[in-house]
Point group: C2
Chain length 434, copies 2
Amino acid sequence: MQNKKIVPRKLAGFWELDPEKELIFEIMLDRIKQVFLRHAFLPLDTPVMELSEVLLAKSGGEIDKEIYRFEKGSTDACLRYDLTVPLARYVAMNEGALTFPFKRFQIGKVYRGERPQKGRYREFYQCDADIIGNQNLSLVADAECIALYKDIFETLNLNAVIEVSNRKILFGLIEELNLSEKFNEIATALDKIDKIGKEEVEKILTDLGVVKASCEKLISLVSTKGEFDEINKALEKLSSSNTFKEGLLELKQIDSYLKDMGAEGSYLFNLAIIRGHNYYTGCVFEAYLSGLRQLGAVGGGGRYDNLAEYFTDKKLPGVGMSIGMSRLFDLCVQNDLLKIDITSKNKASIIPLGDTLSTCLKICNKLRSSGINCEVLFEDKSFKSKLKDANRSEVPFVIIVGEEEVSSQKFAVKNMQTGEQNSLSTEEIIKLMR
Amino acid sequence: MQNKKIVPRKLAGFWELDPEKELIFEIMLDRIKQVFLRHAFLPLDTPVMELSEVLLAKSGGEIDKEIYRFEKGSTDACLRYDLTVPLARYVAMNEGALTFPFKRFQIGKVYRGERPQKGRYREFYQCDADIIGNQNLSLVADAECIALYKDIFETLNLNAVIEVSNRKILFGLIEELNLSEKFNEIATALDKIDKIGKEEVEKILTDLGVVKASCEKLISLVSTKGEFDEINKALEKLSSSNTFKEGLLELKQIDSYLKDMGAEGSYLFNLAIIRGHNYYTGCVFEAYLSGLRQLGAVGGGGRYDNLAEYFTDKKLPGVGMSIGMSRLFDLCVQNDLLKIDITSKNKASIIPLGDTLSTCLKICNKLRSSGINCEVLFEDKSFKSKLKDANRSEVPFVIIVGEEEVSSQKFAVKNMQTGEQNSLSTEEIIKLMR
């Protein structure tokens, strides 16, 4: 045995749940997976690492300081920072073998080497679903991604609202106002309206050289939200640009598809939704927990024109939705929103009293064969400390097997919540636990 | 759009399944998880990275050339090469909060930067379960780990045999033969007996200075296999060393527990099982697919004296079992052993014929609400090419919605395997699909 000990610690900013919470988290992931499968998405599980050349194709090989990059032998690789670039690589590599639209989901960890801070992790779970078309992609795909949120939040027993917009509307208005070359700055300023208020945004816009009348139009645009008919009425007269009209028409179509999909009431339109990523070219959306909007979006996504332009000449338009699962889970814990039955927990602890270990193992085997999660507390501890362990683990039932019980084959079953105790045969125990 | 394209490729030696296979693989992982939960193991999901100081504690900070290591800012980190060191770190960190024996499972990817070759990956899945005691740990734990294999192979519809031994038996004999200082070399030679045969092993032993009588005893030992009574009879007179006898007695006890656990017939004793890792100190075992023993073990494990000695003074003995899931899956594919119902697949593709998209979306929503995996083929393609897509995806049912069907609310449902076609209402379709 060595004497000098290493202090056991994990990397700062890396997420790690205790087993009790992990049980709940995995049930949540599994339920989300079932929703993706119900919507006929296919699973993909790409490597955690990609070649740097591939992962950094978008930025022309330039490395963002957030990215984990390393060399091993002649290999220059990075840890993935999202699940979209690996999807693009996969689709471009396997183009010929895929049927389009290609609907894939991926649930996995992504890596961002940013400074650890509250609510931000260096390793965290993301759940993504994307639909990739070949040359064209119907707006049904956009509606499908939005409807996924509804089913996911339902299966997690969470109340949430999906806020939907279309970047074409903003782009059309800015175009008409002859401000296209300032699109990014203006969009960035408008994106802040919830945080800093109208007046501050107006100040920034004025500084950018936007005249008062245009400022008013832009602010009026991003202040518009509600059902489609409401926003349509409010926006109709704001612009006569074709792009603007096209964006509005797309939202109308998506609204209609969403109603056919039974998603009414789960979403609203909010023109303040802009999304930072420049690759979005049409419909965009963000998901917020009801009553906790101020804590920020727990997911988002949108339409992009071309998934894999860095890898292939083929035009592959897509639409994707994503949920930041580690963040969502934290918010649920902090706001007491976890309403998940932990079906995967241990149901019974079997305690030998005297020389009955063999009988305990046999009972345990029968229960497990009937699909019941259970265990024998086999360690050389006192009966009292075993009962204490069982209590601490919040197991619903304890089965006590004393020497007399071995001959009677009726065992003391204690309901740990009510304290009620009954003498039952193995078959009766199985019936009770089920 | 940029002109110079990057060739899309993944890192060599990294595993990636196509979605059809991934569906099956994930069902397998989920079934294994259910077995772990049935045995009341708790899930753990440690980060993919650990501090180098922690991960390399065992080797005194020395880095193995297989390990992926990198620096970022002031962080010196490695990708995990197994799931045991992260477990040791976790247990040492959270010692005070855990109830012992601590039973945890982890299913995750591990990383070994070795030269890619057939059957060897740089990133692959491992399923591990370990039981960690505080100061002491009953032999029931060893039996539990062996019994896990039985339940796992059963749930995967695979035939396998678990071969069990105890290093104390070999150690006792070597001790008695006054060869203890050559234990590692002798064990390494004996470990090769299946591959190179008795004569070659005898040659190596003789070169090591082992006299003929001792060679015979050692080779006789590792040639012993069968039920406990058989090996007991064969070995009883081979040595009178206490360690030897203790090892044999432990196997007898484990055999008895395994029978209580209903695992009879799933395992045998084979003294040729030695396991390379020096940290094993007692019972060791390996799992082989029946009839494919020559392809090597698909899993293994054993008893170790002290899980976290590099991190804490506390004595934490443990026993663990592991399955190399990527390798097992490959073997199953190559030998046509996958007998898994793909319950998670798409059950129905709904094809609009004419202007019926809205009705299709409504049917789809009703089916999904009833738990049926399905989708609308919404793309602007010909009916014929949609049927072709459906055929290619091997979906069991296609629902064709023509304009007349919208008014009759009876839809053409085609069984893609039999070719049979029926006109059914949505409710009838739901009944049929379930």
